[in-house]
Amino acid sequence: MLSRVANAIYWMNRYIERAENYARFFDVNFNLSLELPPNVSNQWKPLVVTTGDWKLYEKYNKNIEKEAVIYFMGFDPNNPNSIYNCIFNARENARSIRPEITKEIWAQVNNLYLLVKEGFKKKLWEMKDPRAYFTQVKEGCQMLYGIFDATLSRNDGWHFSKIGRMIERADKTSRVLDVKYHILLPKPEAVGSPIDLIQWSALLKSASAYDMYLKKYGKLTTMEISNFLILDTFFPRSILHCLIQAEESINIISANLDRNLNEVQKQLGMLRSQLAYTNIEDIISSGLHEFLDNFQLKLNNVSVAIFETFFSIEKIKSQSESSFKFI
């Protein structure tokens, strides 16, 4: 598959996953703000912090309030990660690789694009209760995953899609956990003390993990929630599960390339092993925040390695001068 095309399909999926996450965050946060007692400070700032764009938010906004946050994360053209920009970029990527995807995928990306354009035109952020709209966005993204799954051949394009989605998802789960945990449980000693049920269930819901978590554990404990979101091998949004899935696809793409492992295989393999061979007690006693910080750094290195190994045209051209394979 063309390097440029692989790059585009990878990013298309990252953008869709990001948009879906943001749409879900809105829904969860909105519900949360309805249930919190009036004296508790509002939950909109942690939400922006989760996305990693707090500095950018401060640049354009003085106050932290619902409307401004929804605008910033949902529609702001100045925010490269707003849902609007994510969907727009996903569509631009899809356009540039139109022959690689199916008509159904393309039509659904277009529908999503029309949906966010409509939201922008109707100034959705001014609405009292925009939940129905963001549910539509979320479902639109989920439908797209379904169409990918049901219509695309399991070729390299499909694997690059999956890698993009899994890396983005691992990143988002780690961020949402990091921010919430920071607020809820700043010190490791506090583990086991009575917990804020509303906040912890909101955390699980932010990762679409509430139902499956309850199914497995039946009650909310900080240790088990952290374990579920980081190390559970069966839950599709846990960090470890995402890494296993991404690694599986990287190995398929890299098969027959070379006997030696490439840079992505090395870095991703090491990161996945690090998680697979640890346990939640160790993570928490040595500091969850530090762990997650370190994880994000390494995940970032993985995505740099993906770029240099598969996407960078200059790099591939220069290799071809010496040792590159002609196929």
Partner: protein
């Protein structure tokens, strides 16, 4: 259900494709009219609305240059089809086969022996001075001597219904994806009529295109790429659509790499050889080493690989000279010279400003002529005398005098009209016709076309970049 009343429908002064001078529905449109009578005007408008939605959801957009109102637009598809009887189609089929065969021989000749120039049938100066005549192509012998593999010729009908060639387009013209997608949409809009009317299918186009591209090389399997300038090109939708339909890679110049005169794609697994490139990048931009040095769209070394015969470019570079609007005037003579036949489809009378007599006539009569730049397309750089102010006319006269070689003029032709939905009413709108031609082992005309329609009342400009829309074109198998 109230029948659709066309008694107020205006036909005077124009040839109408559906309604005769006597106000009666023409025979090849009868079944269609019966059907829309059953549907009713209100439902017809609803169907039009669903069509607009379908186009949006399919992302059938094109980009408009110099447009600040968002770059993407839908090419409006009017759901009332343009229907062509099989007798009319027969003329088109034979006429275009003849014309393309002759133009291809012309190209092969002027880049090699130049017999037609030495015999003074076409003025040497006129051909060699064309900006689209590429010196780099002199001596070139493309596979099977085919230069213009893919073309689309613009036809119009005058007052009496006779077909004329308005323009030849030998530089991979766009629009064929609309011919194909419009049909898909209309099959959903009017399913019953398709069954009854015996409309000839167009879906074979993609298969024939693939077959034509494969016929140009001896290897198998053939590695084919469609070369696009990228997503901001006005016809990008079409490039991606065609690549997808024929199972080719859609590449940009940056995806290609030439090494030792072979062309490769840069893939995640290494360099993969390409045999045939259907390129939708203009001649000038395909290779910065040979043509425009500043081109970022092209691939250095591509032309050299082509000359060595290691890759086939479709169309061959240099074909533009045969659709130069001044050379156009000589096409009847070109047909006679190579085929010893009279043209089956006539040219529109053309005044060549490079010739003194014609220049004088053009300047004196500019108010009733259409003036065109010889190397332009897409409706850019033209003047419609009857619709222009004195000031613009003077402006054009200055331009022509300064550079007569680059201008031609033609009488204004009242293009034929087809009933079209406009603001919930049915009114006549002017149309042209662009059938598509493939040339590999032989010349093939696909039984269908893009009918471009000027959506503005009384407008004669059908170009999509200038407010034109499209219609599906139904070619009938036998006379109904």
């Amino acid at each position: 259900m109230a029948k659709i009343d066309l008694s107020q429908y205006e036909t005077s002064g124009y040839f109408d494709e559906m309604i005769g001078k006597d106000g009666q529905v023409k025979s090849h449109y009868k079944l269609f009219k019966d059907r829309i009578d059953k549907i009713g005007l209100k439902k017809l408008n609803d169907l039009q609305y669903s069509t607009d939605r379908a186009q949006l959801s399919l992302g059938m957009t094109f980009n408009v240059y110099n447009d600040t109102q968002g770059v993407e637009r839908i090419l409006h598809l009017d759901i009332i089809p343009r229907i062509i009887s099989s007798d009319d189609w027969d003329i088109i089929d034979r006429g275009l086969t003849q014309r393309i065969t002759a133009l291809n021989l012309f190209l092969d000749d002027i880049y090699n022996e130049q017999k037609i120039l030495n015999d003074k049938i076409v003025p040497k100066e006129l051909v060699l001075s064309s900006s689209t005549f590429l010196k780099q192509c002199i001596g070139l012998k493309p596979p099977k001597n085919v230069w213009c593999h893919i073309s689309g010729t613009d036809l119009i009908r005058g007052d009496d219904g006779q077909f004329f060639v308005l323009e030849d387009n030998l530089r991979c013209p766009s629009g064929v994806s609309y011919m194909l997608e419009n049909r898909e949409i209309l099959k959903r809009t009017f399913p019953e009529i398709f069954e009854k009317l015996d409309v000839r299918p167009v879906y074979g186009y993609a298969l024939q295109l693939r077959e034509m591209l494969e016929s140009l090389v001896k290897v198998y399997p053939v590695s084919i790429a469609v070369l696009t300038p990228g997503i901001y090109n006005s016809a990008y939708f079409e490039h991606s659509y065609l690549a997808q339909q024929i199972g080719a890679e859609l590449v940009e110049g940056q995806d290609l790499y030439v090494k030792d005169d072979f062309v490769y794609m840069i893939t995640t697994k290494g360099l993969q050889r390409i045999d045939v490139i259907y390129r939708r990048v203009d001649d000038d931009f395909i290779d910065p080493l040979v043509f425009n040095k500043n081109s970022l769209l092209g691939t250095p070394g591509l032309f050299s690989a082509y000359k060595k015969g290691n890759v086939v470019l479709v169309n061959a570079p240099g074909t533009g000279v045969a659709d130069d609007k001044a050379v156009y005037a000589y096409v009847p003579k070109i047909i006679k010279y190579y085929l010893n036949e009279d043209p089956i489809i006539q040219n529109v009378k053309t005044y060549i400003c490079a010739e003194k007599q014609d220049l004088k006539y053009v300047i004196e009569n500019i108010g009733k002529l259409v003036v065109k730049k010889t190397d332009a397309s897409g409706g850019y750089g033209m003047l419609i005398g009857t619709k222009s102010t004195k000031a613009t006319q003077q402006e054009f006269i200055l331009k022509i005098k300064k550079d007569p070689r680059n201008y031609i003029a033609q009488p204004t032709i009242n293009l034929s009209r087809v009933p079209t939905l406009s603001d919930c009413k049915i009114e006549g709108r002017h149309v042209d016709l662009r059938p598509y031609i493939l040339y590999g082992r032989e010349v093939k005309i696909i039984p269908g076309a893009l009918t471009r329609v000027a959506l503005k009342k009384n407008s004669l400009v059908v170009n999509s970049s200038q407010g034109g829309g499209s219609k599906d074109t139904w070619v009938l198998r036998k006379n109904n």
